[in-house]
């Protein structure tokens, strides 16, 4: 990752901007059921393999700044929410994510199904995901 960032820096003009968009490392995807203005948290998804990659990306960005080839211009985090009509769409949603994909913790999927069975008519499943944008300016 450090090598890729260094390479990208060689293609940038002085003062040019390097932008990284990637999933947030610590804000895990959160599943909830929403109905009638209420939000009932169900669980958060796990992806330990990918979290190692995200930590390595954070460290790589820090390293090229420490090396002096870039200056940190800013960091911005954001959340986005997707709403599913029924639990069966959950599998499709997860398959749209590039591997390694997040997964439910033990008992998480059963909890979703149980809460969905007792949810009122018109309820939806909310998947809240997070991303982080790092901006580095080439020195």
């Amino acid at each position: 990752m450090v090598h890729a960032l260094r390479r990208a820096g060689r293609y940038l003009r002085r003062g040019g901007m390097l932008i990284s968009i990637r999933p947030h490392r610590t804000w895990r995807p959160a599943i909830a059921i929403v109905a009638g203005g209420r939000r009932l948290p169900v669980t958060t998804l796990l992806n330990p393999t990918f979290e190692v990659n995200l930590e390595a990306a954070d460290l790589a960005l820090e390293r090229v700044v420490d090396e002096g080839s870039f200056a940190l211009a800013g960091v911005r985090s954001a959340r986005f929410r997707s709403y599913l009509d029924r639990p069966s769409q959950m599998r499709t949603y997860l398959e749209l994510i590039n591997p390694p994909r997040p997964r439910f913790p033990r008992g998480g999927r059963a909890r979703l199904d149980a809460m969905w069975d007792s949810a009122p008519r018109g309820a939806r499943i909310e998947v809240m995901e997070s991303l982080v944008v790092n901006a580095l300016r080439r020195r």
């Binding site: 390479r7 940038l12 040019g16 932008i19 968009i21 986005f80 995901e129």
Partner: protein
Amino acid sequence: MNVTFNICHCQASYDSAVTSTELSAYPGEGFEPQLVEHFVSLRRKRVLEIGCGDGRLTFQYAPRALSVLAIDPDRPSIDEAIFQQHARGLSNIEFRIGSIERLPRPGAPFDVALFSWSL
């Protein structure tokens, strides 16, 4: 499927809402360019996008950019991106199979290098 967004920066936050009819694990149209342009305007810029995939994000900002070189090692994704590019009539994008490690030195340096979910 409906998609909404909440952007958090330090203690400040604001909401923006985007509606999408397709099932997607990515933010809706315009959201990521909006975040990027918080730091740098892409208008009339020469952009190098690393890990462009099928051009999902590329097509959102390319109309404002001067030129885009978008690379990805996955041939089927690049083929799909080129197909979409022709369908959209965008002539300022060059999609190329490859990685940043093997990219030849360009004639002119880029203004922005964008790692789109690829670092």
